[in-house]
Subunit: 199 residues, 2 copies
């Protein structure tokens, strides 16, 4: 059965545990492709080109913008970050499902270009738990944590037009829900229409 | 987490293996409730009231129709068959997902009353395979098998407004897809809105 891959945006507020969930999601799954962003910032020690980011020059980035080669892009503290369309399309053509780790603002740009992209928001089980996780990381001041909490609440409100909310009560639970969503989306009638017409 | 159950209609052509798939789906799952139909026909040997059917009198059936107590009903070779709303609602209130084994015509009646019911059609991997399964059952003449095949194709066309198609290539595969659909539907944004507003 020759099936085309689908694209899934996964967003979630700072501290929700998205990276841990994504890492677990990819375990043993070579039918999934993680979309690697392009950036104009310099590589940090240990960062590998094409794995952590596609490190490109500002000139190259501008050229890709002009060629409409990004699904979304943004500027952040003086550097550009973007999702090159090419790798996403190649993976989907090869039958892989593409996971895009993109924030709510970027997701809007993707949807404008590819309305059939599925959007999933990873939510904390409750705000106290999110505050606890942010505190436990030990990287932020109490003021910074309150700012992150407020931002998370705003993000969740703007994600109200997403397709799915996955609640990260445990990593196992969140991964099970993500895998169910990916499989269920491949069972959708519009997805299987072509196959069924042939039978 | 207090969640309300959802209702899922599962349809499929004769010979597709729906009963086997449903049996496997229910294994070890007490969060699922199988909707038992009411009928005016007499119980056959071994049939248990409330388990295989709710066996009721024609007068009772007519009263339930008048009370709008059925999600759907139909007459078939002189007897009435219908889905009583009450048991479905009770199960959903108790947090169970309800599985309704209903054909395409009945599904339309259910959707008219409960538009949020999810419709899943179980399709054969291909027509040759369906013909092979019908032949292997050994219960039908070749003419009858051709009639069933034609009916299956018509049924599939009328099921084009369903939500999902599950392809019964293997029982394990079909059950995995059904479970993924049920779980994914509980992750939908409209489903989780209330929970998220509280966090």
């Amino acid at each position: 059965m020759e099936r085309k891959g689908k694209a899934f945006i996964i967003s979630g507020p700072s501290g929700v545990g998205k990276s841990t969930v994504l890492k677990a999601l990819f375990e043993g799954r070579d039918d999934l492709y993680f979309s690697v962003s392009a950036t104009t910032r310099d590589p940090r020690p240990g960062e590998v080109n094409g794995q952590h980011y596609h490190f490109i020059s500002p000139e190259q980035f501008m050229q890709w913008i002009n060629e409409d080669a990004f699904l979304e892009y943004a500027q952040y503290v003086g550097n550009f970050y973007g999702t090159p369309m090419r790798y996403v399309d190649e993976a989907m053509e090869a039958g892989k499902d593409v996971i895009l780790d993109i924030e709510v603002q970027g997701a809007m740009q993707v949807i404008a270009k590819r309305p059939d992209t599925i959007r999933i928001f990873i939510a904390p089980p409750d705000w106290d738990e999110l505050e606890r996780r942010l505190t436990m990381r030990g990287t932020d001041t109490p003021e910074k944590i309150q700012q992150r909490l407020l931002r998370a609440k705003v993000e969740m409100k703007t994600a109200m037009d997403y397709d799915y909310f996955v609640i990260n009560s445990t990593v196992e639970n969140a991964v099970a829900e993500l895998r169910a969503i990916i499989l269920a989306e491949h069972c959708r009638i519009d997805e299987r229409m072509d196959e069924l017409m042939n039978i």
